[in-house]
């Protein structure tokens, strides 16, 4: 009897948590295992289940450390998959972004994985969680990662398209086709869809000037436009996958803050909250202040120091911060020094640190990479 007939005729039911709590579930492109999903959803209100989830995670992290075979990427994938299943809403507290980052950093220099589709997919999923993934695509390009796969060109081109860099997107897709990336039909189909979309675009003729610049910082204008376009593209591209909820996580809204204006004059005046600040253009002196102000020290503003990037040696030395609920906290294990041949360390952090680190990574996904690995 085939498995479906067997299941249909059996008394077994599928739990209904997936439907009851569907608002709390982030759809995954690769789909989810419903039993794991139901279990994870039940665990939110059940301490016993929660404990077993944490135990699972500990085991998976240990497995990464203890792996002896010739495919060290596999235990990382098991761990990532599991975190995705166990934290259906995803989000900044799941630690997913941290694991993506440590995984890609562990193998970026490895020739073995340059063309491995699984490794590329981790990178692409990481990119989806960043505010501006362009630096990631640059990195992949500079280090020749994933270039035999259509997925690389499709994702990169989509990203360019979301920034209205249509020529770049076009060139990328063509490059992928001429490089015979696999599977080629998928790439050709993506190109056709791209062309159809670009025909429909309102400003089909305008071209961006800064095509080959490094990512340009924007303060709310470009980002807002890009996000709505990315929304439109992804909604179309991926059919019913309602990734809109995902957009909220992915690209934080940047809010243009005008209060720095007075700092350059050494003033401590309050920012203008007057009602007529938008109604009058002001005199010429007022309008030209940016061009006329004398440069002065920024005495009232402190920019927090970035932590020095950790140097990653040839051996994968990843530190994984593990989210631990207060009620499940245990004393840190005492490790026998001679047993620890690898440098994988478990650090127990609370949810806030995970959130902080996730936010930092979203803004600067390669911040922990050694400087010699970064594209110029």
């Amino acid at each position: 009897m085939d498995p479906e007939t067997e299941f249909l005729s059996s008394k077994r039911q599928t739990g209904n948590e997936w439907e009851l709590f569907k608002e709390n579930v982030r759809p995954l492109k690769r789909g989810r295992n419903v039993d794991l999903l139901n279990h994870a959803l039940k665990a939110r209100t059940n301490d016993q289940l929660k404990k077993s989830l944490l135990e699972n995670r500990r085991r998976l992290i240990e497995a990464i450390d203890e792996y002896q075979g010739d495919d060290p990427l596999q235990p990382w994938l098991d761990c990532i998959k599991w975190v995705q299943e166990a934290f259906p809403p995803g989000g900044d507290f799941s630690g997913l972004v941290l694991i993506y980052e440590q995984c890609v950093r562990a193998f970026w220099h490895s020739d073995h994985y340059k063309d491995d589709l699984r490794y590329l997919k981790v990178w692409l999923e990481y990119a989806e969680h960043c505010s501006d993934a362009e630096v990631i695509y640059y990195f992949l390009d500079a280090n020749d990662i994933g270039k035999t796969h259509s997925a690389y060109y499709i994702a990169y081109a989509l990203h360019m398209e979301s920034k209205s860099k249509m020529k770049a997107a076009n060139d990328l897709l063509n490059l992928g086709i001429s490089s015979n990336a696999q599977p080629i039909e998928k790439l050709r189909d993506a190109y056709k869809k791209f062309l159809a979309r670009s025909m429909r675009r309102p400003n089909a003729t305008e071209e961006e000037l800064k095509e080959d610049d490094l990512p340009v910082r924007s303060f709310g204008t470009v980002l807002a436009r890009g996000e709505s376009q990315r929304q439109a593209i992804k909604t179309f591209e991926l059919g019913r996958n309602k990734l809109k909820q995902d957009q909220v996580h992915r690209t934080p809204l940047s809010i243009y803050n005008d209060t720095n204006m007075d700092v350059t004059r050494g003033h401590h005046s309050k920012p203008n909250t007057g009602s007529n600040s938008w109604h009058t253009l002001g005199g010429r002196a007022e309008r030209n202040k940016e061009n006329n102000a004398m440069p002065a020290k920024w005495t009232s503003h402190k920019i927090p120091q970035r932590p020095v990037p950790r140097i990653v040696g040839a051996v994968a030395s990843a530190q994984i911060e593990v989210f631990v609920d207060e009620e499940c906290e245990e004393k840190p294990k005492v490790h026998d020094e001679k047993d620890r041949t690898s440098s994988l360390q478990l650090r127990e952090l609370d949810g806030r640190n995970i959130k902080k680190e996730t936010e930092l990574l979203r803004e600067n996904p390669l911040r922990n990479f050694p400087s010699n690995s970064l594209p110029r």
């Binding site: 085939d2 997936w18 759809p27 690769r30 789909g31 599977p183 189909d189 059919g239």
Partner: protein
């Protein structure tokens, strides 16, 4: 008047078959599970569907004439088999256009109450209650996005009918293998029940692996 009310609630075999056939996407103007699946899974683009209200739920109806006539014809045949008590299961199979690989199978497994079938009448169950059950399944189809893998390549669909062996294969149908998915993930959805036919629904899908293209 009393007799009319009563007649409405007692489901004859013919009525039940009509409802279950509607269940499978019946003639011209309405949509049921087939269209719901095609729309929600993105087999055809959103723009090719039009909204229609039926049974208190907005439903989507394809405007593609080819698809419409295909589905109309096949549901007419399913109806016929159903009335004859010969239909065991209907499966909508979604496959990759490029590789023909089966990605999803939407199973509708039919149990005919044979005792009722002989006699022609059954216990009472209101249309409204049946519609509620159908709506519950439609909602589940729409929510299945929480666990189904994204179909980000062009797909095609097929409809398989599992019938009794003594049924002759009509001209426009062919005998086929079951087009199964190897090691599928499976989710049971709500069933629905007219007291003559009981329909169990199940969706099975491929495990999406990290090394899959």
């Amino acid at each position: 008047m009393a007799s009319r009310t009563v007649a409405k609630d007692i489901i004859t075999l013919r009525g039940s078959a009509a409802i279950v056939s509607e269940f499978f996407g019946y003639a011209a103007n309405s949509v049921m599970f087939f269209y719901s699946i095609l729309y929600n899974r993105g087999v055809y683009p959103e723009e090719s569907f039009a909204k229609v209200k039926k049974y208190g739920l907005p439903m989507l109806l394809t405007q593609d004439e080819g698809v419409k006539s295909f589905i109309t014809n096949l549901t007419a045949q399913l109806s016929e088999w159903l009335e004859a008590g010969k239909l065991q299961r209907v499966v909508m199979v979604i496959m990759s256009k490029a590789t023909n690989e089966v990605l999803e199978r939407w199973n509708f497994s039919i149990e005919t109450d044979s005792h009722v079938f002989e006699k022609g009448v059954s216990r009472e169950k209101s249309d409204r209650e049946i519609m509620r059950e159908i709506q519950a399944i439609m909602r589940q189809i729409a929510s299945s996005i929480t666990y189904l893998p994204c179909l980000d390549e062009p797909c095609v669909f097929d409809v398989l009918a599992y019938t009794d062996t003594d049924v002759a294969v009509p001209f426009t149908w062919i005998e086929s293998d079951p087009k199964l998915i190897a090691n599928p993930q499976m989710v049971k959805l709500h069933s629905f029940d007219t007291k003559i036919h009981k329909v169990d629904t199940l969706v099975s899908y491929k495990n999406d692996e990290w090394d899959e293209q």
